[in-house]
């Protein structure tokens, strides 16, 4: 019972605050609650897309060719699965880079001798890699959106256009926010260096990033792969 008095001790790294009930950082719990909430957000978007699937009265359609009178000129199925498969691969690889970035930050203090250790231990490299892969995914999405508009599908065209652009646009906005978050971490890394003490903050970005990635797996499967 020597600890009965809650007076902070000098060498306590909680800065005089009482320890947390779970031993976890507050931010870690908050981000999981946030992710839980985001699940409902995307569940609502995805459900609406699925409910409206096949209900558009005019083309273009995602998986079927569109012939007159549905479309003024014959149109083939609009979703480009090979291109989206490539962008999906890019996004999945960004999650790998994110894992390496977090590991590099956590192990910043450990001595690195071989070239391999130095590469794996560079938080800047892996944060850049994650951000660039994320930005590449966004580039693919911009290309996809532009080509759809050229083929005559906008957010106003039909139910497919409305629900598709809103769903994937929301996901794209989440990726954009993630890229900005990564760039912010990079700016801090360049200014003062990220070390093990910052691992919790990188961990939050990583959890968010992986979540956005997992949502894309659901979207890719439900929207693109399943006819």
């Amino acid at each position: 019972m020597t600890h009965a008095a809650a007076a902070p001790s000098a060498h306590d790294d909680t800065h005089g605050h009482p320890p947390t009930s779970t031993g976890l950082d507050n931010k870690k719990i908050a981000i999981w609650a946030f992710i839980g909430s985001e699940c409902m957000l995307f569940a609502s978007l995805i459900s609406t897309y699925l409910i409206y699937k096949g209900r558009s009265v005019v083309g273009p359609y995602p998986h079927e060719a569109c012939l007159p009178p549905g479309c003024s000129t014959p149109l083939k199925a609009i979703l480009n699965i090979p291109v989206t498969s490539a962008s999906t691969f890019v996004l999945l690889m960004s999650s790998l880079a994110m894992v390496l970035a977090l590991a590099a930050v956590e192990n910043k203090d450990q001595p690195k001798t071989t070239t391999g250790e130095k590469i794996l231990g560079s938080s800047k490299l892996w944060l850049w890699m994650t951000a660039i892969l994320g930005a590449t995914f966004l580039g693919f999405q911009a290309f996809e959106f532009t080509s759809f508009v050229h083929e005559g599908l906008t957010i106003r065209t039909n139910l497919f256009g409305s629900s598709f652009f809103t769903l994937t646009g929301f996901h794209g906005a989440h990726v954009t926010a993630g890229v900005l978050w990564l760039l912010t971490l990079l700016a801090i890394d360049y200014r003062r260096g990220l070390g093990p003490k910052d691992a919790i903050n990188v961990d939050l970005a990583a959890l968010y990033w992986h979540f956005v990635d997992v949502v894309w797996i659901a979207i890719f499967t439900l929207v693109y792969l399943i006819k």
Binding site: M1, T2, H3, A4, A5, A6, A7, P8, D12, T14, H15, G16, H17, P18, P19, T20, S21, T22, G23, L24, N26, I29, A30, A33, F34, G36, S37, E38, M40, L41, S44, L45, T48, I51, Y52, R55, S56, V57, V58, I155, R156, N158, L159, G161, S162, S163, T166, T184
Partner: protein, 663 residues
């Protein structure tokens, strides 16, 4: 009240009084001050909603009255519902979440004090935003449920619905941010020994409500985003001609809307569960079952939404399933009612104003609950839906339930918040006027409803058998208004010079009563070590607490480290959790010392204006969208970008500044 006599009286000024002045309120990050801001703001909005209700009742007092035009009447009932739900009951509950959760779990603040300030400012700006519509003569007029396609641009071309959609989006941000904060606070900032099954019942209810908030609000966010996109960008989510499903909005709205009902009632249940044991001098009956019932209500609450939609013709299977799940909710709710009754049974009851309000909740909510079970049956519902019977039902649960519980909570916790007691004499006038007025207003509505009076009609012809019941309802509304005036007088005038309360005027058993009233900025000079569900009774009245379990099993569990890196930082085991050893184990009563956090070396977060600026920027951003319909595209874009810039810059400034000075 022997326990009260034991507490030394002291002048309120002895207690630590923080800075005052407008700037200190704009920059505060103290959960107690933010709770106070929530309380005052929501009482203001509650009065606004009350005036709207009064105008509705004056209009309907007799047949063929034309105080309000049909259009003004639509605005009135829409804003009455929207205001009472989103700007009245929810933030009144939030006031108690803010004030009480940290005190009840033995913490010095919430997990994210600045996010907490942000939540309040977003709520304030959102409330002002929606109500600003009155000044443009364009208050929302589509009902608080805003059914699309009625609310799409085709059928509601004015700015009215724009104000409503954008206002609700702003308010949603506030609720979500607050919910993340409270979940983290409750999971992670409990005092040593305060394991989950020792948390006060109010904190339990608050905890469950936060999960309802984070899971229900994203759904209405998306429903509103669709409506926003339809109105501003020409999408087709609710365009029937494009093949849209006319029920999409109803499903999405009620998937949010039904959990929302429990978001409104569970905090009041929590307050009642604090008041009744205290004034019965007994621990609550069936504590674990109360906690489980709360969780079960919340869980089932996500599976009943379509009972709001029996009349749309979903078919026999859907009707049956949703009818049955709805009736199931009566079980955990009934458990709560019986547990309150059994708590009072055999107790030494003390009928304070708070207790009267709490008992009124038990009685009136039961009436509302029973009429709820009635229209859980689809055939009965088809007769009752869209009539005044439904209006009677939900006012019995929201006014008879939520508001009675909240008023009880205000009388119960006012001494904790201010250090002074409200007048019990005026409180009794307030209570009886409210109780009689509420029954006189809403009970006749059951009959006008069963006689076929539809909801939302702005006037009616004589000779349909509705005159008497409507006249009664209007007289009841006058009594409610009189009761509210007495409450306002009591709260703002009499209470300021009321008798000094001391730490624990009621002889309660939970942690918030072990510290001075009003609590010092740091709440607890020493974090208490909790020994049972009613730690203060362990110290002051162990006999009352004899049958409450005092096992140390839960405490030992706290010794298990979740992250290996934090070894040594988890709570030491308060090994002896028996009442006679409570004081040794660290449960103690703190007297007012007048010492500041600085005197005691307790780290406190710095005050900051940034959350308010960030909330302001966000509101500006949403306001920009309004200009789209005025065909001022460049003004809209400029406003949106300005708002976004303010929001982003203040957010970065906020996040990159440490919460407190380094030491």
């Amino acid at each position: 009240m022997a326990t009260t006599a034991a507490a030394p009286a002291y002048p309120a000024t002895d207690s630590y009084v923080g800075e005052s002045g407008v700037w200190s309120w704009l920059t505060t990050v103290d959960h107690k001050r933010i709770g106070t801001l929530y309380l005052f703001t929501s009482i203001f909005f509650f009065l606004v909603g009350g005036v709207e209700a009064l105008l509705i009742r004056i209009q309907l007092a007799g047949p063929n009255k034309h105080l309000l035009s049909a259009e003004a009447y639509n605005q009135m009932f829409t804003m009455h519902g929207t205001t009472m739900i989103f700007l009245g009951i929810m933030p009144l509950s939030a006031a108690f979440f803010n004030y009480l959760i940290p005190l009840q779990i033995g913490a010095r603040d919430v997990a994210f004090p600045r996010l907490n300030a942000f939540s309040y400012w977003v709520f304030l700006f959102g409330g002002l935003f929606i109500n600003a519509s009155w000044f443009f003569g364009a208050a929302p007029n589509g009902g608080w449920f805003g059914y699309a396609p009625l609310t799409t641009l085709q059928f509601s071309p004015g700015l009215n619905i724009d104000f409503w959609v954008l206002g609700l989006q702003i308010l949603g941000v506030s609720s979500l941010a607050a919910a993340f904060n409270f979940i983290t606070t409750i999971i992670n900032m409990r005092a040593p020994g305060m394991n989950l099954m020792r948390m006060p019942m109010f904190t339990w209810n608050a905890f469950v409500v936060q999960f309802l908030l984070i899971l229900a609000f994203p759904v209405i966010t998306i429903a509103l985003v669709f409506l926003q996109f339809d109105r501003f960008f020409g999408t087709n989510f609710y365009t029937i001609a494009a093949g849209a499903d006319p029920l999409l909005w109803q499903h999405l709205f009620w998937i949010f809307g039904h959990p929302e009902v429990y978001i409104l009632i569970l905090p009041a249940f929590g307050l009642t569960s604090e008041i009744i044991p205290t004034f019965s001098r007994k621990p609550i009956f069936g504590y674990p079952v109360m906690a489980y019932a709360t969780m079960l209500i919340a869980f089932l609450g996500f599976g009943v939404w379509a009972h709001h939609m029996f009349a749309v013709g979903m078919g026999p299977i859907a009707d049956t399933v949703f009818g049955v799940t709805t009736m199931l909710i009566a079980i955990p709710t009934g458990v709560k009612i019986f547990n309150w009754v059994f708590t009072m049974w055999g107790g030494s009851l003390k009928f304070t104003v708070a207790m009267k309000f709490a008992i009124a909740l038990v009685a009136l909510f039961t009436i509302g609950g029973i009429s709820g079970v009635m229209h859980a049956s689809p055939p009965a519902d088809l007769q009752q839906t869209d009539t005044y019977f439904i209006v009677a039902h939900f006012h019995y649960v929201l006014f008879g339930g939520s508001m009675m519980g909240i008023f009880g909570g205000i009388y119960y916790y006012y001494p904790k918040m201010t250090g002074r007691l409200l007048s019990e004499k005026l409180g009794n006038w307030h209570f009886w006027l409210m109780f009689i007025g509420m029954n006189l207003t809403f009970f006749p509505m059951h009959f006008s409803g069963l006689y076929g009076m539809p909801r939302r009609i702005y006037t009616y012809d004589a000779g349909q058998g509705w005159e008497l019941f409507n006249a009664m309802s209007t007289w009841g509304a006058y009594l409610l208004a009189a009761g509210m005036l007495i409450f306002i007088y009591n709260f703002f005038v009499v209470g300021r010079r009321g008798p000094i309360a001391g730490n624990d005027p009621w002889g309660a058993g939970t942690l918030e009563w072990s510290i001075p009233s009003p609590p010092p900025e740091y709440n607890f000079a020493r974090i208490p070590r909790v020994t049972s569900r009613l730690p203060l009774w362990d110290v002051k009245a162990p006999a009352l607490n004899a049958e409450v379990p005092h096992t140390d099993r839960g405490d030992r569990r706290l010794d298990v480290d979740v992250g290996s890196k934090h070894a040594g930082h988890s709570h030491p085991n308060p090994a002896n959790s028996y009442p006679q050893q409570a004081t040794e184990a660290g449960m103690h009563i703190e007297e007012a010392t007048g010492k500041s956090a600085k005197d005691l070396g307790i780290p406190m977060p710095n005050q900051t204006i940034k959350p308010m600026i960030c909330a302001f920027g966000m509101t500006v951003m949403f306001t920009g969208l309004l200009f789209i319909h005025k065909d001022k595209m460049s003004l809209a874009i400029a406003t949106i970008l300005t708002g976004a810039l303010i929001m982003t810059l203040s957010l970065y400034a906020w996040v990159l500044t440490p919460l407190e000075d380094h030491h």
